[in-house]
């Protein structure tokens, strides 16, 4: 019991004793002269919910298809539980895939779609019905077992596809943009359902998405991809709070990137000169920077406070004029223009009623943030 308590934080990637279930070792995939996957090294651990995030065409599907066995790496090796899977055909891999288009068999009922993989396995006939029922219950589709795919809704089809790919209890489940076709509300519900199912079945999930919110919601770790490369692999919180590059910072959530030159103040503190007539930004940065090096300072709107007077003890404060206010219900975003024309966004929670809001258009305000609020990036 006491032991379990220490395991409550799930972070096998930080534990050098853990063996990854999947390892990519310098994997490159080319289509002709086009490099779709560019020298990737990646470890994915058992029971992880791993998200591949990136713009369309960055190679997410290709990476998945290599895991499923539909593409072979041009260079490098992929290991599943320590064994090279290059020679293992898709039908022999303990990996199942939920296709972007669902790929449900239109001539089979929901029941037979789910049973399809089981009938091809060495599961005894007598156990198949029970397993299918179990899967139908898991995705709440018992009533629809006898329907054909064209007789059920999009959301139900997506759940059939999920049940079908889970039925064989694969070691690894690949989900290629599984929620792409659903509307926002259904999507959010399904995200939680997915997390629930992943927890219940203990399967390792690798999910592809181009929706950063989705990746942040479901994943234990996120890999941000760009043009066939992994830019950053980290937990959603790390990706959000400490992105390793402007690309990642920009891709995830809203951010203001300020270019400037750094001057060390000692003790991991720096001053960043960024605009004529503006006070230098004070920021903390653990990687050492030389004096005068070019840096990018990334600051997120919710880290910026907005006040009428200059706060006394703020590490950073700038004066500006409210250009625009975006009211988003639970929060408001203020677009504040600085005297040099740049604009910075500040976000505040709307815990008061609209009528009692303190600022309006054209008001002169102060924006302030602490020295640890932003991130200093070198690329």
């Amino acid at each position: 019991m006491a032991q379990q308590k220490s395991e409550t934080v799930f972070a096998p990637w930080d534990d050098p004793d853990q063996k990854p279930i999947i390892q990519f070792k310098s994997v490159t995939k080319r289509f002709g002269s086009f490099t779709a996957i560019d020298n990737i090294d990646l470890d994915i651990f058992e029971r992880e919910f791993f998200a591949l995030l990136g713009p369309s065409g960055c190679g997410k599907t290709t990476l998945m298809r290599m895991l499923a066995g539909f593409e072979t790496p041009t260079e490098g090796t992929i290991l599943l539980e320590g064994k090279d899977i290059a020679k293992v055909p898709p039908n022999k891999r303990a990996v199942n895939m939920m296709f972007q288009s669902y790929a449900l068999f239109p001539h089979l009922t929901v029941y037979d779609n789910i049973a399809f993989g089981l009938k091809r396995s060495d599961m005894p006939k007598s156990e198949i019905a029970g397993r299918v029922e179990e899967m139908l219950t898991l995705v709440k589709l018992n009533k629809f077992a006898a329907r054909k795919p064209h007789q059920i809704s999009g959301g139900q089809r997506q759940r059939v596809a999920l049940a079908r790919s889970l039925a064989k209890a694969p070691k690894l489940l690949l989900l290629d943009e599984p929620l792409g076709a659903l509307d926002k509300k259904l999507r959010q519900e399904t995200q939680f359902e997915l997390m629930d199912i992943q927890e219940k079945t203990g399967t390792t999930f690798v999910i592809v998405t181009h929706d950063q919110e989705e990746a942040m919601t479901v994943a234990s770790r996120v890999a941000v991809m760009d043009e066939g490369k992994l830019v950053q692999v980290a937990t959603p919180a790390q990706i959000y709070e400490t992105p390793n590059s402007v690309y990642v910072a920009d891709f995830i959530g809203e951010v203001k990137i300020i270019e400037g030159t750094a001057t060390p103040l000692g003790d991991d503190r720096y001053e960043i000169q960024w605009a004529e007539g503006q006070p230098a930004i004070r920021a903390a940065c653990s990687t050492p920077l030389t004096a005068g090096s070019r840096v990018f300072y990334a600051i997120r709107p919710e880290k910026v406070a907005i006040t009428a007077e200059r706060p006394k003890d703020a590490a950073n404060a700038v004066k500006g004029r409210i250009l625009d206010i975006a009211y988003l219900g639970n929060i408001s975003t203020y677009h504040v223009e600085l005297p040099d024309g740049q604009s910075i966004k500040a976000q505040t929670a709307n815990n008061r009623r609209l009528a009692r809001r303190s600022f309006t258009w054209e008001d002169t305000v102060w924006l302030s943030w602490t020295d640890t609020a932003g991130v200093v990036l070198t690329s």
Binding site: A68, N91, F99, A103, F105, F116, S121, H150
Partner: protein, 298 residues
């Protein structure tokens, strides 16, 4: 507005009425008449000038004795049965030949498909009759096929293919192949390639995914193709009479002989009416198949 709509609805009915129903009623009427040495070669003929009495007399002279005659002479039964056999066998043969062609076309790369499609349709640009005559040149005792086989030494004696049922099968398969290939191709081409990957992902080999996914999904195309071949093959006349010789018995030939050799229009018409009734069954089944497919696509 209403008149225009009425007109639009009426056009296809008028078309069907003029080109199908009226000729059918004429043939039906002739089949109920008696043969006669006159022009036209049957009685009674319809004469409206005689008024109501003449019309009554006209109808009283119609009878079904030609149909009774068809059941008495076993030539007709045998001809129907033999036509049915030839049509079924050649339909299946066309399916066996046509499916791989359609499959190959559907799997070909995008730049090849139009060319392959052209090659399938190309024979339609030549007269059907000339193409059947060309087969005589290929299949006859001194034909290209025998010459070629003897030249490479497979056979010493020429094969006698001409004037056998085999020649008829070859002729029908050749002629109706596009009707089989095109519907199968269109179902295979529509098939989502990820279905095959999904089948493999779930444990199928290439072969089993073919039998479990490709074949069931192309079934509507195969059924459509079979009907499109079977229906015209059943009443086929040109191919059996040019390639099948005197031994091959098919109802189309019997029909022709009754009309032109015996000049027995009433019997010929009753043969035609029975043939049509035989064809109605597969035509209805074909329509059902098409409607079911449409529903599936919605």
């Amino acid at each position: 507005m209403n008149i225009r709509r009425l007109f639009l609805i009426a056009v296809p009915y008028l078309w069907l009425g003029a080109l199908f129903l009226v000729p059918f009623i004429i043939v039906l009427k002739i089949s109920l008449s008696d043969a006669a040495i006159s022009i036209p070669p049957y009685t009674p003929t319809l004469d409206f000038s005689g008024g109501w009495e003449a019309l009554k007399q006209f109808f009283s002279k119609l009878d079904i004795e030609n149909y009774v005659f068809l059941t008495e002479d076993d030539l007709y039964w045998k001809a129907y049965a033999s036509s049915l056999k030839i049509a079924i066998i050649s339909t299946l043969a066309t399916l066996v030949v046509g499916f791989p062609i359609a499959y190959g076309m559907a799997r070909a790369s995008d730049e090849w498909r139009p060319t392959l499609m052209m090659l399938v349709i190309l024979p339609f640009w030549t007269s059907f009759l000339i193409r059947v005559y060309a087969w005589i040149g290929i299949l006859s005792t001194e034909g290209f096929l025998n010459q070629f086989l003897m030249w490479i030494g497979v056979i010493n004696e020429p094969l006698s293919i001409m004037n056998t049922e085999l020649a008829v099968y070859i002729g029908i398969v050749y002629t109706y192949l596009p009707f089989m290939v095109l519907p199968i191709y269109s179902t295979l081409e529509k098939m989502d390639a990820s279905l095959l990957e999904a089948a493999e992902d779930l444990g199928c080999t290439r072969t089993s995914s073919f039998w479990l996914v490709t074949i069931p999904l192309s079934r509507p195309g195969m059924i459509a193709g079979c009907f499109l071949v079977f229906i015209p093959a059943l009443g086929e006349f040109v191919i059996p009479s040019l390639l099948g010789g005197s031994q091959t018995l098919m109802i189309g030939k019997v029909l022709w002989e009754e009309f032109f050799n015996n000049r027995d229009w009433p019997v010929a018409s009753s043969v035609a009416v029975i043939l049509l009734l035989l064809l109605v069954i597969p035509i209805i089944l074909f329509q059902r198949n098409e409607e079911k497919n449409k529903e599936l696509e919605l």
